[in-house]
Symmetry: C2
Subunit: 622 residues, 2 copies
């Protein structure tokens, strides 16, 4: 420690496997945690108990830094690498630091993208554990979601075959209500001590959920890139095999359960959010919840360990929480609230560095308006990661497509293209500044970038209001390559933060969406399609209008159209429909089609992955 660097930089897994790690118990002890505060998962991972929060509550918070990016190319601009590298840079400067990032889905790990533990000399280790099961949290989310899904279809079947009386007797065999049933009684405005007190009409209303199969919004999930299950018909077979209906599977990280895991601030909050999850409606359009199905308690039991954040380490041995991985398009794309709440205390006197998905218009806006609202934490600094490559694309450079070699325009100096694309950086800086937080720009340097190009970006960044703009070379040089950036972040954190949310919660849903569209995306206004207009009314009637907004929008443009680069202007944002994640606690307007289940490419990366049977080590994971 720190890892011995060699050039050229070996593959990510070779770098990671060559590192000498600290036993995670040592990392924990260096933070003042005892063995009783942890559940070890092998030598290199541990779950931290939530009750440490109570012990740490009087400590001042660490400075809170969020890493975001300009509007990226489809290749990504190195945001995770920079996040981890910034932490390593702070560590290199002798600062106390804690990194909080998301756990990646196994789908992309075996699909197109490969792993997500950072790269080069800026990684979370062991990268195999990070990219594979970790401590099983995503599996737990899948189990909870799929138990709920099975409960829905089983209930439809049983209600279809049982009379009111037999249904009541099946559900309350001893003429007693289960504790969770009291909540449904209350919701229905029925007062009864025991099931036999119900009138026949009350019994029918209480026991018969009468779920409308066409209303069901809860999909089943699997943590694999499996496009073949995006749209399925289930319930085929015989009378005993359920009732046929169209359904679908999402990737696990796109589930509301995952969004809930990331936003819940404690076990009680988790239990309540799960209970509030709306899975669809009855035939009168009344929402049906997980609580109504009697499955919210069991789902919480499945998630109780998953709620504890996972302690790992960066390549230089500084502590990191890897916890929760909600999708950044239909969910909020930020790691967990509990990890930040604990990390910000453990790093007291230092820095908590976290990351939000995609650009400042996407994950960062949700970080502020959704995650910070849930946690109550106040950020001190935003780091915007930019690459010369992406800025050239925004300046009108040729299309960038994963799997196809880059156009020479991206590998040679081209100040003209770059200058035209700077507008995107400026727009992202302005978005961040709107929240009252100082901004530092990190230029993730590629070896084809020229000094003139870098100077141009630096100048533009500062002119647009950034505190500083620094080159980051963390991929090749680890913490040392992040030292300059770290110094700038330290300085920015000393500036006053005048943090404010973009919108208050108590304005109409329509106004909240229009605020985001005009203030963040630069649209002239919003066009609500009929389905979306219906939902504005429905969700207001149902009392969901106090929830924050989680826009489901492409990350490849500031607008809704992935082809519009730079800073799109003179357009109206179309909102096709609006959905509600009542348990997670947000509404998500759909601007375009959101993919919630990726597919495998013609040559998936799983084809390179194997076990070296001599050493027992994983090979080919990237």
């Amino acid at each position: 420690m720190p890892v011995k660097r060699v050039y050229p930089v070996p593959s990510d897994i070779e770098v990671a496997q060559a590192a000498e790690l600290y036993p995670i118990i040592e990392v924990a002890k260096s933070l003042g945690l005892s063995e009783d505060d942890l559940d070890l998962y092998g030598k290199w991972k541990a779950k931290v108990h939530l009750d440490v929060l109570e012990k740490l509550k009087d400590r001042p918070n660490a400075k809170y830094v969020d890493v975001t990016a300009i509007t990226p190319t489809p290749l990504g601009e190195g945001k995770t690498v920079t996040t981890i590298g910034l932490s390593q840079g702070l560590h290199y400067l002798g600062k106390k630091v804690f990194t909080c990032i998301r756990q990646p889905s196994q789908g992309p790990t075996f699909g197109i993208k490969g792993g997500a533990a950072g790269g080069g000399y800026s990684q979370i280790v062991p990268m195999e554990d990070f990219n594979l099961h970790l401590t099983g949290d995503i599996h737990a989310v899948g189990a909870a979601n799929n138990l709920l899904a099975a409960a829905i279809d089983a209930r439809i079947l049983h209600e279809d075959t049982l009379s009111d009386e037999r249904l009541a007797r099946a559900l309350c065999p001893n003429d007693a209500f289960a504790p969770w049933m009291r909540k449904r009684l209350e919701k229905l405005g029925i007062s009864a001590e025991k099931p036999s007190d119900l009138t026949p009409e009350q019994r029918r209303r209480f026991f018969r959920l009468d779920i409308d199969p066409y209303s069901i919004t809860l999909n089943r999930v699997v943590d694999v890139n499996d496009r073949a299950v995006r749209n399925v018909i289930i319930g085929l077979g015989t009378r005993e095999d359920g009732r046929p209906r169209q359904a679908g599977f999402d990737i696990t990280v796109a589930s509301e359960v995952m969004a809930i895991l990331a936003l819940a601030s404690n076990l009680k909050d988790l239990r309540e959010r799960i209970g509030r999850m709306v899975i669809g409606t009855d035939k009168n359009r009344t929402p049906i919840t997980a609580e109504d199905l009697g499955v919210a308690g069991a789902m919480t039991v499945l998630l109780k360990d998953a709620l504890m954040p996972n302690l790992m380490q960066t390549l230089d041995g500084s502590p990191a929480f890897v916890h929760a991985g909600p999708f950044a398009n239909i969910a909020h794309g930020n790691s967990s609230v509990v990890a930040d709440m604990i990390g910000i205390k453990l790093a007291s006197g230092g820095y908590l560095v976290t990351e939000s998905g995609f650009g400042a218009d996407c994950g960062m806006e949700k970080f502020f308006d959704i995650k910070c609202r849930a946690s109550g934490l106040i950020p001190n600094c935003v780091v915007i990661v930019a690459s010369i490559r992406a800025l050239k694309m925004h300046g009108g450079g040729p299309r960038v497509v994963a799997g196809i070699p880059l156009d020479p325009a991206y590998k040679e100096e081209n100040l003209e293209l770059l200058e035209k694309g700077l507008c995107n950086l400026e727009a992202n800086i302005k978005i961040a500044l709107r929240f009252g937080i100082p901004v530092v720009v990190a230029i993730n340097r590629f070896n084809t970038d020229t000094q003139a190009e870098i100077e141009m970006v630096k100048k533009a960044a500062v002119a647009a209001g950034a505190e500083a703009a620094c080159v980051s070379e963390v991929w090749a040089r680890g913490g040392e390559g992040g030292a300059e950036l770290a110094e700038a972040v330290v300085a920015a954190c000393e500036k006053p933060s005048n943090f404010r949310y973009l919108y208050p919660l108590d304005i109409p849903i329509k106004d909240k969406i229009e605020t985001i569209a005009t203030q963040i995306y630069g649209a002239d206004g919003v066009d609500f399609e009929p389905a979306a207009r219906d939902k504005l009314k429905l969700y207001t009637d149902l009392g969901y209008d106090k929830l924050p907004i989680n826009m489901a929008k492409t990350h490849l443009s500031l607008s809704h159209d992935p082809a519009w680069k730079g800073v799109p202007r003179n357009y109206r944002l179309p909102v096709r429909d609006i959905r509600a994640s009542v348990g997670a606690g947000f509404l998500y307007p759909l601007c375009g089609t959101m993919r919630t289940m990726p597919g495998l490419p013609s040559r998936p990366v799983f084809m390179d992955i194997d076990i070296d049977l001599e050493t027992g080590k994983v090979v080919g994971l990237s």
Copy 2:
């Protein structure tokens, strides 16, 4: 330790939560294992590294005891309770003992059955961990299986859209074969150094798997009782969403991957078995394997931690491995080979107690002919668990149905019914004796059983060839209640074991099936239906005829008809079809319809399960 007993016996979870456990590291140290031999998963569970086998290889094996049962009622006769209780009984006598049992599926835990950690004062603890995710092995099995499933449908899609040339370029972008591709080249009899050496015809044969969608036998899996996904149509939507076909989901524990996890003796063996898995055939009926799809390495990587057995403890602190949970109908229904291989060394000088699923005709026969073949271990004693209730049922007692109150015949002394039913016990004893192993009968005592009834069973058991027949009261009295049984097992283990398999592997498939049908099930012969006859020929042609046989038969009768109780005679066993689990290494003839995905009942047990928010403890798990 041991747990303080109270009467009446509280609920399973109350007993378990009241117990004071040893930290699992202490249990491991008492076995001579060091911290470096383990991966802790919290304080109460640990995975044991497989390389301890090398260190322990010179130790003599412990005595090897398998617990099986008579033909059970649908309620089960307490086999797991007796298994754990026998271990506690041996511990009570001061013997060294190790228990190896299966990890239960979460499906039944939340469905009808509840947990499977034993019960009363005979349990593996913590029972919440045992019944919930444990260390994530079942999730890993699901992830590996579903990656393979996604790989199949993705390959069908990509082959459908790409020319031979583009397919070849996609799969070998640098004109080089991946290591696993060499195996396919060899299989096809093609010699080539690099893809460009292939003739167009060879290129087509090599790169185009040409999977017949109607031949695919690999189902997707989920660890939930979800009958609605038994039969589904997948691949609906657009051109990009796969190709429509009928498919299905099994519960994870019914998968071949789970059977492989249970039978693999080391990492290399695991890798090879996965590579051999046949997922269907091409359009010329040639088998297509996981290796052909290039996904066997990644699947092994997903399973590398799952292969390590999970160390837990019984209520009296003796060590237990909980590892693998293959279904007992279409798979072999026994815990893992690696757990037994390690446990039998760790318990050297003492006893390894394991359990096989269902009656002696089912799990025990597979234990001997499949599991012991894979492990090379030789059993010393078989314990057959019997209940007076089940014997009365075999004597012609009223139907026993889960969820419906028991007929009084089962709660009052009825020597006549009992005597008529003893034939089933005698038949099961004879089945066990056929393998050359001494038999002890354990009468799992219910509080309605009378002394006269018990004496009658004891006498019949010894007359049928059992070494002894003892009352077991382990549910109510823990190890003390199992002491008499333990003493009988100790005595039986001193007898010579003349262990022999039922059939040699090198006889025709048909002869192996007929041997099991006539020698174990008491059938007069076997009727092979046309599909089964086709498979006899096909599998012989393919060279699968040296595999052992894993009968897929109801466990509710010695015959194929669950309604035929006692000892069915004068019948022929119908074999509808035969399937191959080439990776697991067995053929499974289907005698009737096997359910590989349970459903949720009208009142699933998940409705009782919740978190106590005051204590953070699980309530309602049974």
